[in-house]
């Protein structure tokens, strides 16, 4: 099969840095304003008030978070808002040492999927953990799947109706 492999022209980083080949640079700059929509709009308004909410589907009886106005399994409208707790259980987590552009982070971030109390089992949201250490080893020592956590909120007047109105989740009792 070697005959059917085309010997592509590979470039080295220096070829670019030293401009040995012609290059065109163009930023892809798009500014957006995304409408939050009906369900998440309400979710954000409740966050501003310091509350987490979900939506119940009476057919499959799931209480869903993030909330949606339709149940994607039953394919029908969801029926009602359900107040949730601001506590939960870590379903999974990571200790991330790089940023979106692959720069190293001084203090690692701890993203986690957190099952929120009051929603159906396994219904998690993405957020971050805090107060769990400043190095990979320290964090791995303190965090495990199944850890009970609670939201740490921004002070009410600094909330803006955003997922970041919760600063992070921290271990219960910490």
């Amino acid at each position: 099969m070697e005959r059917w492999v085309y010997p592509t022209t590979g470039l080295k980083q220096e070829d670019l840095e030293e401009a040995r080949v012609c290059m065109t640079r163009a930023p892809l700059r798009g500014e957006y304003a995304w409408d939050a929509g009906v369900a998440v709009g309400r979710f954000l308004a409740e966050l501003k008030a310091g509350r987490l909410v979900g939506r119940r589907c009476r057919v499959c009886r799931r209480v869903m978070v993030p909330p949606r106005m339709f149940c994607e399994q039953c394919f029908r409208p969801t029926d009602e808002w359900v107040p949730l707790q601001d506590t939960g259980t870590v379903l999974t987590f990571s200790v991330c040492t790089v940023a979106w552009d692959m720069r190293r982070l001084e203090v690692p971030e701890v993203p986690a999927v957190i099952a929120i109390d009051g929603a159906s089992p396994g219904m998690g949201i993405l957020h971050k953990l805090g107060e769990v250490g400043r190095t990979v080893d320290e964090i791995l020592d303190r965090v495990h799947i199944g850890l009970r956590v609670q939201a740490v909120w921004k002070p009410p007047r600094r909330r803006e109706g955003a997922i970041t109105d919760i600063l992070y989740f921290r271990p219960v009792g910490a």
């Binding site: 592509t8 980083q13 640079r25 993203p111 799947i145």
Partner: protein, 388 residues
């Protein structure tokens, strides 16, 4: 079997590299012209073109397939782009199959291309935009998060160690050393190398991850009567399947890829396979990260849940083992130009089943192989079964 019988009759690819001088259309042409040449066909014998490429953001070209189309032989031809993220490479072959199985076309040229190196500051940045813009993106996520979160859920549920999983990276990078197109083949890599590599997002370390790659792969597909005329060794499509899980990924059980099982069951049913562990002789599961290969083997029902790592540890998954897994070297070793990587796995089965894989040849004249890819927001499984 649904529809007409369809075979793959030719395959070609570019060498996979970190950054190619070639533009996307040039890469596509290099692979497509090699595929046609391999079965002595010309463009005027191609009835339809199927193009696969992952997010437009990598090449940095909107409506990428229109851009790539000259290099895929699409000039003046019925052309389609299927897009299911990382699942695209195998899905493109499935689309080639149904174009022909339906009776609409006798031949199809299936081309997958990815030029990830155009995307700065890092191709990973393009993946920021898969996260929900309102409930997730304000947290400043990056792509590694979801893999790391899934890997941790999988490891923890079954009590797997980092070492168990690192063995996959070792196997695949070693296998790739015998692949003429490989970017990262390494015959001497050890499990310590993987375990000592830089932590990116624990439990994911540098050598757990496939590289950033530019490249293209193409296959030629044909209906029964054409295939037999073109070659005396057609490789038949015996089964296909695909399925999608909910987009609400934080509501899923991340330790098991249900959608892969759903896709596999469809493909097995179509191929009349009752005991996949005995009837599949070569597996090319999607391996953008080492744990994904294990995850997918379980979803494909080729290992019990939590037990796929044993196949690797015991050597069963080696090229000369009882069930060779990723003899190509996979995404971890050959490289990961997203859509092209999936089609590379299909091309590998084509070469293996014809006995043309050279130093990578799986012994014992394998008769049937399975290729699988996975993608979107970790929610799609695409499966194809080929046989001779």
């Amino acid at each position: 079997m649904a529809g007409r019988r369809v075979a793959i009759v030719g395959a070609g690819m570019t060498k996979f590299v970190r950054r190619a001088l070639e533009t996307g259309p040039e890469l596509a042409w290099e692979a497509a012209s090699k595929a046609l040449e391999s079965c002595e066909m010309t463009l005027d014998q191609v009835d339809a073109v199927v193009l696969g490429s992952a997010p437009d953001a990598f090449d940095g070209v909107h409506m990428k397939v229109e851009y790539l189309s000259p290099g895929a032989g699409a000039w003046g031809k019925p052309t389609i782009r299927g897009y299911v993220g990382g699942g695209t490479g195998v899905f493109a072959a499935i689309q080639g199959w149904y174009h022909i199985a339906s009776g609409m076309f006798d031949t199809a040229l299936v081309v997958c291309e990815e030029k990830m190196s155009s995307c700065h500051p890092h191709p990973q940045a393009a993946f920021n935009y898969i996260f929900d813009h309102t409930t997730e993106r304000p947290l400043g996520p990056n792509l590694l998060w979801i893999f790391a979160l899934e890997m941790n859920a999988y490891m923890t549920k079954y009590g797997l160690t980092k070492r168990d999983i690192a063995l996959v990276a070792v196997k695949n990078k070693r296998n790739a050393a015998a692949h003429p197109a490989a970017q990262l083949g390494d015959p001497n890599i050890t499990v310590e190398d993987v375990l000592n590599s830089e932590v990116l997002a624990w439990p994911v370390q540098r050598l757990d991850v496939s590289p950033v790659t530019d490249g293209a792969v193409a296959v030629v597909m044909a209906a029964d009567h054409v295939a037999r005329r073109v070659t005396n060794r057609p490789v038949w499509v015996e089964g296909v399947g695909w399925s999608l899980d909910t987009q609400y990924w934080t509501n899923r059980d991340l330790s098991y890829p249900t959608y892969v099982e759903e896709a596999a069951r469809k493909a097995y049913a179509m191929a009349g396979i009752r005991e996949p562990r005995k009837e599949i002789h070569i597996v090319e599961p999607y391996d953008p990260f080492d744990y994904k290969e294990l995850h997918h083997l379980e979803g494909l029902l080729l290992a019990d849940r939590g037990k796929a790592a044993e196949l690797v540890a015991l050597g069963i998954a080696n090229r000369d083992g009882a069930m060779p897994v990723t003899p190509s070297g996979g995404l971890l070793g050959v490289g990961n130009p997203i859509a092209a990587a999936g089609l590379m796995k299909v091309a590998e089965l084509f070469w293996q089943l014809r006995g043309e894989a050279g130093p990578r040849q799986v012994p014992g004249q394998p008769k049937r192989g399975l290729a699988q890819a996975w993608g979107d927001l970790m929610q799609v499984g695409t499966v194809i079964i080929l046989g001779i």
